[in-house]
Symmetry: C2
Subunit: 333 residues, 2 copies
């Protein structure tokens, strides 16, 4: 049987448990040219919250009754003459939150379990890694010696953004919630400074850690933090809008950045990004990121939980902040 | 005697009449290497409101007790061996709101009253013209065939933005308040469409006039209009933040654009600009703008009022919307 997580209804605010149901259905029969994948790891990302809303966005919403969309990693266990994948291959793609997925292979790509642990392919070498890489380099356009601030800094994307900026010779300040995360960023990942927004006054801390102001701000959270960083940007600053996790479960309108006129005063740029636009360059990025991983310049950390039946509790950690690094669901045998 | 408008106190919200006082002081004695200018026209611009605030911005605030800062046009009536200007020359510079100004000539440049009427040099060929030119071309990066929306469209900057975008082959929609302004934009300036935000539903009107969405939005007003346009931007849209006249007299915090996440969905860019950054290129821009004026492709319109004692009432027109084109104060004989 195939355990699947099905979207049951559209949530308002923070999803409750009845948002999804778990079904056990037959393992799909595959057709000529298709593969059947036994899933090993499923990616949990803040973006998933957006896919639940029935509104115009960069991707279609997940339909009611459909398997919950998710990136995943698995092993091909059946192939009906698929031109690219044979039994035993490991692949990454949009397998969804389920134990088995079938596909004609579109959107899938092969991964090598000998080069990196499987979860890394949905973390540092997957969507979060690509987001960090293209966001900070091509949208943020960081230059050596600049001051880079990143929010959600202990998260999957944020922790990579900061490390890449360090590799490129920037001064990096991470904003995260709680002393454990801040310690991790400084001691393990080599961030120059951190701000614990839950226990520090962000405005004062930004002044202290970025006395000359902020050249590049990579925003994963939106809300008050974005608004406060805007008051500290330098001339020609770039703000990368990658996400707004503080606003995803809002039941009231999104809080816009009231200090946006700082963009005028400081000739700043605020630019939105979606990682899919860089698909044609993923390969080069993965080669460079793998090299950094091997050299120990980049550290990959996953927070692995187990079992599709635990999806809901694990999903909530995206928003409660109770996680460190990339949140991953391991599919039980 | 020299009639001068002096900043008496910092206003809160919309300035009241006691914000400035009028003084009659002696015409300044000039030193070696200086010029004395008899002012003919004084520029009134929304940016003046910002210069009254005692806060960090792109330019120092006007000090209490100082002559109110303003761009102006005048005639050199005395020159003590100034290396560049002699009696009879016409010059433009930061002469302030007064009848006579003295200067060592820094920041001044010569203008030719035979090439264009004097007020044009503080309008289409002055700061508003340069703002429109560099804002829409270098920040907005308009391309032929794109849809351009401009707010404050009947104002000094907005009316030029729209005309330049038309010259460059764009489809131009102007947002302005009232049927007279809209008629002027369509009939006199050749805008493709207009939206009277005081009498139309902006959201519906944007859908009708820009069915494929907005490629470039040039924002002079901020507030609700910016927020609504954000819901209609196309992929890779550019938003030029030139001003936020709806927010300048706020006594409550500035309203941030709650729909800013549309930048993410549509990979949009929101960029602030200050015209002074383009000073090294003013000359080329003035040559091109003059050519367009001569060819009749660009229409210049000034709303001229007379007398320094009428500064306050005229200034209010910037915010009440009771003006068409560039607001200018003519200095009485």
């Amino acid at each position: 049987m195939n355990k699947q997580l099905i979207l049951a209804k559209r949530p308002i605010g923070l999803p409750d448990k009845s948002t999804w149901t778990i079904e056990e259905n037959a393992i799909p029969e595959i057709n000529e040219g298709e593969i059947l994948v036994k899933q090993h790891y499923i990616s949990l990302d803040p973006a998933m919250r957006g896919w639940l809303n029935d509104s115009r966005s960069y991707i279609e919403p997940v339909a009611i009754g459909e398997v919950m969309r998710a990136a995943s990693i698995g092993e091909v266990i059946e192939s009906k003459n698929h031109p690219k994948y044979k039994v035993g291959d490991f692949v990454s793609g949009w397998g969804g939150v389920q134990q088995y997925s079938s596909s004609d292979g579109s959107g899938y790509y092969a991964v090598d379990p000998n080069l990196a642990p499987l979860p890394t392919y949905i973390g540092t070498l997957g969507m979060p890694g690509m987001t960090a890489y293209f966001g900070i380099l091509q949208v943020g356009k960081i230059k050596e010696g600049e001051t880079v601030v990143v929010s959600g800094a202990a998260g999957a994307v944020g922790s990579l953004v900061g490390q890449i900026a360090k590799i490129k010779g920037c001064k990096v300040v991470g904003i995260a919630g709680g002393p454990d995360k801040c310690k991790y960023l400084k001691d393990d990942l080599g961030f120059d400074a951190t701000i614990d927004y839950k226990n520090e006054d962000l405005k004062i801390a930004l002044k202290q850690t970025c006395p000359e102001g902020v050249d590049v701000y990579f925003d994963n959270v939106g809300g008050e933090i974005l608004d406060t960083v805007l008051t500290r940007i330098r001339m020609n600053a770039r703000i990368v809008i990658c996400g707004a996790i503080s606003q995803y479960n809002n039941t009231t309108p999104v809080k816009g950045p009231g200090n946006y006129l700082s963009l005028l005063v400081n000739r700043g740029t605020m630019q939105g990004m979606v990682v899919f636009d860089y698909a044609s360059q993923y390969k080069e990025a993965m080669i460079e990121m793998s090299k950094w991983l091997k050299e120990g310049k980049l550290k990959s950390r996953e927070d692995v939980h187990e079992g599709i039946e635990n999806f809901y509790d694990t999903f909530l950690r995206l928003f409660s902040g109770e996680k460190l690094g990339k949140l991953v669901l391991k599919v039980k045998e």
